[in-house]
Amino acid sequence: MKAVYFAWVRERIGHAEEEINPPAHVSNVADLISWLSEKGEEYAYAFEKPQIIRVAIDRTHVKHDTLIKDAREIAFFPPMTGG
């Protein structure tokens, strides 16, 4: 699946998107954030406070307990500050 990052999540990780292939035991959003955090220092930094990270699957906001199985695009970003 494709992971995309925005705002300071993107800046901390160092790139805007990438293909990821999480193992089978990574079933929901929270699992995926833990798994990504272990990919390196930059990921650990981006996800240091996982509870504040907002997530969208296929362009729809989801909660951290949402299953990721059919996701094509999963986005991680800080709380929105538009408007």
């Binding site: 925005f6 969208a56 362009r59 729809t60 970003f77 800080p78 929105m80 500050t81 538009g82 408007g83």
Partner: protein, 155 residues
């Protein structure tokens, strides 16, 4: 009763008079038009510019979902939402919401609802560029924006 819905995510600025005209022109059932314009504000004379990042594709879709909720909730004759991205200088227009209805209460309430939801649900992020040349922080989300959005759930 035709209803117009206009949603645009764009880099360029917008013309409020023109956008109002699009909603009301050639019809005489509109009795009330409310517009909200959000401007780039320079709080302490320290801001040089705001940089607005967005999630292309999702921004349009999420705003369309919020607009659909407003249309389901109030008897509206027209809605316009325009949100800009890119670099904004102090005084620049950032966001425009227009609601048109027969009566003023629907126009007022739905415009406020749309802004509260855009603030907390539309995937946009603001970064400050300081006047001293440094790049400042990303603007933090505000608790009171979440509270403002939450009050629409209660009623």
């Amino acid at each position: 009763m035709t209803k117009q819905t206009i949603i645009r995510i764009q880099q360029e600025t917008f013309d409020i008079a023109l956008e109002m005209q699009r909603l009301s022109q050639g019809r005489s059932d509109v009795g009330a038009i409310v517009t909200f314009t959000g401007l780039c504000r320079d709080e302490n004379a320290a801001l040089c510019a705001l940089e607005l990042e967005h999630y292309p594709g999702m921004a349009e879709e999420e705003i369309a979902r919020v607009v659909a909720q407003a249309e389901a909730r109030w008897p509206l004759l027209g809605i316009t939402v325009i949100h800009r991205y890119g670099r904004m200088n102090p005084g620049d227009q950032i966001v425009l919401v227009i609601t048109a209805s027969s009566h003023r209460q629907a126009a007022f309430e739905s415009a406020e609802f749309l802004m509260d939801y855009l603030k907390t649900r539309a995937p946009f992020w603001k970064k400050e560029h300081k006047r001293d040349g440094t790049i400042g922080d990303w603007v933090s989300a505000k608790d009171h924006d979440d509270q403002a959005a939450a009050r629409w759930e209660q009623t």
